[in-house]
Structures are given as C-alpha cells and as structure tokens.
Symmetry: C2
Subunit: 215 residues, 2 copies
DNA sequence: ACAATACACTGCAGTATGCAGTAATGTCAA
DNA sequence: TTGACATTACTGCATACTGCAGTGTATTGT
C-alpha cells in the first residue's frame, strides 16, 4: 500500500465510484496535495480489489459497461491504520523555479516567460479553489458533513497560491533591474537579500528592499 | 529529454561531476524545485551520454574508479533550447495535507501528529536554506558568479516555508476547537472561513477570525 | 588497530506517467 | 435528423522514476 493507494481508498470510503469518476473527484481535491495521473487513477482501484480493500461490480449503461468500485470493511480498517503512520515530507515540483535557477542559459525574456506561465498556472489553480468555495456556500458540497475538512484544506491552497503570485511580482521586480541573466554574482542588492533571508525575515514587502521609484 | 534530464544537464553545465557528487549538489538546489531520487541521479547522466549531451571518463582513486560526466557542446545547445519551451505547472506533494483532508478516519491526536511532522519537516528544509545563505555570506558559494540566481531562488523557498509554518499554526488553532475530526460540516466558523477565502482574502491573521482568548 | 562514515556505484522489483487508441453515449445546432 | 463535438469509460505499451538491498574501497577519528 502506497500513499496513493490510501488516497484512492479514502475517496472510496466516501461512496462507490467508477475510475472515471475518481479522476473527476481527484481533480477537485487530491490534486492539491497528492497529484496523480489519470492513468494511475484507473490502475489503482484494481490493485485495491486484489488486496481485498475494495470490490468491483459491472453496471450496464446501454451497450456500455462501467466498473464501479466499493470499499470493503478490510479497506476501512486499513484506512484507520494509515492515520497513525508517519507522513512523508512535502515536495514541490516547479519547473518555472528550475528555469530561474538556471536562467543563465536563456535570456531575460525567457525568464519572464517562465514567470508568466508560473503565474497563469497558479491563477488557474486558485480560481478552481475559489469556485469550489463559492459552490460550498451554495450548498454544493457533495459530502456536506465533511465541509470543515475540505475548507481547512482549501485555506492552505489559497494562502499558497497567493504567496506564489506575490513572490512572482517580487521576482519580476528584482530581475527588471538585471542587464542580463548571467554573471551578476553577489552584488550589493543580492547581498542585502541574502542577509535578510539568512536572518529569517521575509523579502516580500520588506522596507529594506524598497526601491526609489516604487513599482 | 525530460525536465529531469535538463535539470542534470544544467548541473553538468557548471562543471564535471561524478554521479555521487550530483546527488550531493541536487540536495542543495534541485531538491527544492525538482526533487529526484538518488537512484535516478545515477541513471540520468548515462542517458545524457547516450544522447550525446555528455561524455564520461573514468578516474582512478587508489583501487577505485569513478565515472566523471562532462557536458558536450551539443548538450549546451540543448540547454539553451530548453529555456524557450513551455514550463509544466507547479505540483505540491504533501501527505500531511492529505491526512487533513481525510482526517475523519483518525483521531484529533493523529491529525496533530501529522501537523507536527509537517512542521518538523518544513523547519528542517528552512534550516538547510538558511545555512546555505549564511554560507554564501561567508563567500562559500561554489559558483560565485551565479549567486544572484541561487539567492532569488532561495527567497522562494524561505517565503514558502514561512507560509507553511504560519498555516500550521492557524490550522492547529482551528482544530483545537473541534470536539472530533468527524461530521462538523458547514458550521458557523467554517462558513466564515469559506466566505473569506471565496472572496480571495487571507485567513492568516485575519481580524474576522480573531478568537476571544487570543492564542 | 578498529570502527564508523563517506564515496561510488548496480540490479531489480515495483510504482507511476504519457500517449495513443477504441468505442459508446450525450448534446447542440444547422 | 444528421453530423459534429464533447463526455464517459476504458486499455496497452513504452518509458520514467523510486526504494531497497547489496558490494566494495577510501578516509577520518579514537
């Protein structure tokens, strides 16, 4: 049982689903904390059936059959056990940041494009969460008794997306003064920033970093 | 060529390394934006050699040989091309958040343990970055001309880790009032939070969420 | 002199992804 | 009512990636 297995099992604990429905539901929730490919969401429930944590049965819709997966008692026991084993450390995958780290190979325009994409992707994610929340207020939560969990979970995403957007603005302000992506090294500005972060302070809206013009 | 290939290739662009050295360097940089297993960091350079983006030669250290990988001109061209192709959207993997989303299967203690682990893991990551920055101030950057990039990159990690720590504090404050992990649903408090985040505001230090006692 | 730690890998089983392909059903508009 | 296009519902296959166990040498500290 991997964490992905438990994630799917947890969805099955809510109600029976087809693999297709799991992909839809994962896009609304799992995605923000445990992103998995659509392909995998089709394979995982089969494994759960093999392990005895779920059962499957076919339903007929006209000429087409669909496989519905349902959690077993054994599956519920496994889920309960899961809650008391140690968690894995968090990991962020952000190609745009990787491009910044190795920005020397491209132009400032390339770097700005990466920032733009990072911003667009983040805005889209934020919008999905905001829409979800607006839906909750309209009573559209599919499992109303779970709203307290979904909402606290969502607060994290929102704070995170806001931070990313603010940071991108900051980063654009910094790179705006760069003549090129290369060889700037430990200049005055960079040293100031290094001191600030080495002391554990925030660089966003830090008065020490204010610029004369005020962007 | 996957993004992982380009990440390793970018490291090779700095200087020749053994796979072992790549694992060390990845732990100081790549890890924060493109985490890859140690195992993979041994396999990837071989693939780069096959593709003609790197070469390898053996060096002797006593009875032991080490394989040193070096970027080729073709590899540098590939790197430059990489800077202008679209980036993948960011993805966060956080098992602790997954435990929150499905906290109903465990106790409040289980949930608090997940928060504790999340906090410890985050603190360790922050400390590594702070140490790195302190080193830069002592002139310990292995590629001094690249400091501007490493530092701007690091600002993101620091802001992010601070946010996570602040959010955990907030989440602990919220769950402290819960009688159990289950069935609290859309109560008054949750509705207030939902309204705040649906309107795009921050929940951290939000005066609307102040509690009488003041934690 | 010995132990512990760092260096330098490899094989293998299993997990996960991306893409292409298949096919039926539902929806809307000309 | 026919055709186009989106949605539902999958599978196979090649490739990417991980975790673990195993192997052996070199260096450092006690």
């Amino acid at each position: 049982m991997t964490t992905s297995s438990y994630a799917i099992l947890a969805l099955l604990s809510l109600r029976p689903w087809t693999a297709y429905e799991l992909t839809q539901q994962a896009a609304r929730s799992l995605r923000y904390a445990w992103p998995k490919s659509e392909r995998h969401l089709y394979s995982e429930p089969k494994k759960l059936v093999e392990l005895g944590h779920a059962t499957t049965h076919k339903e007929q819709v006209g000429k087409r059959t669909r496989n519905v997966y349902e959690i077993t008692d054994q599956g519920r026991v496994a889920l309960t056990e899961w809650t008391s084993i140690p968690t894995a450390p968090p990991q962020l995958e952000a190609e745009a940041l990787l491009r910044l780290l190795f920005a020397e190979h491209g132009t400032l325009e390339d770097l700005n494009t990466a920032f733009d994409e990072f911003e667009t992707d983040t805005r889209e994610l934020r919008q999905s969460v905001v829409d979800l929340m607006a839906g909750y207020l309209e009573g559209e939560h599919p499992f109303p008794e779970r709203t307290h969990l979904s909402v606290l979970f969502a607060t994290f995403q929102l704070e995170m997306f806001t931070l990313i957007e603010n940071w991108i603005e900051f980063a654009r302000g910094e790179t705006a003064d760069w003549p090129t992506t290369k060889d700037l090294g430990m200049n005055e500005r960079t040293e100031l920033i290094t001191r600030i972060i080495a002391s554990g302070e925030s660089v966003l809206d830090n008065p020490l970093l204010e610029k004369p013009d005020g962007h």
